[in-house]
Symmetry: C2
Subunit: 127 residues, 2 copies
């Protein structure tokens, strides 16, 4: 079944807490993850919170990456949303798992925008 | 069960195509949706794509909102990710459904960051 977008809902538990609270590091690895996946970065914005935690997003020509970190729980919530066939979000997920030294990752994959065309699902073979 | 974050995965089908392709409008209603939900906007960024479609994000102190539109399919993919008890993402979802004149919305709700504390799930009554 084909869809307009593909979204990885990435739950990273048991990460390195110091890395999750390092604004410069989080921004750097999120941008590198986008690049590793083959995406083109359009804009990005990262912000630290008091007393800890970072939120950030990267808009890519093929959709977006987002992250929110809770260093106190060694946890990060990441979304990797892509469209088209030129970007591989799996590569971005693996890159971030490695960089945050995550020992307990979980990933759900969602298809976004499943559209009926002429009353039927689009299948990949037809695209 | 308690969680660190709450994410609405919002599929908006059968929207008004012209509105989905209006950069100024999309940015305005996304910022208004964040405000209506009780969120504090930290940063935002919206971009048009050729030949059509808009991607945008709003980072809020309580996490983020993101949108990608496919006017040619009258479809928008929206995520509303919140944390804490002061923001109501349902209000943002309803606001966007109304503003895009969506005739066919679907919403999945995800709990992000379900953490064991002392070997047990945190329940809301305990927080």
């Amino acid at each position: 079944m084909d869809s307009l977008g593909r979204q990885l809902v990435v739950e990273l538990k048991d990460c390195n807490a110091d890395l999750l609270n390092d604004l410069e590091f989080v921004e750097k690895v999120m941008l590198e993850a986008a690049q590793a996946a083959g995406a083109t970065t359009v804009a990005h914005s990262f912000h630290p919170f008091i007393p800890h935690g970072i939120s950030g997003m990267v808009i890519i020509a093929e959709s977006h990456l987002a992250i929110h970190t809770w260093p106190e729980y060694k946890y990060a919530a990441i979304d990797i949303f892509t469209c088209g066939n030129t970007v591989n979000p799996d590569i971005a997920a693996q890159y971030l798992i490695d960089k945050f030294k995550c020992q307990d990752p979980s990933i759900l994959e969602l298809k976004r925008g499943v559209i009926l065309v002429g009353g039927n699902l689009k299948f990949k073979a037809e695209t």
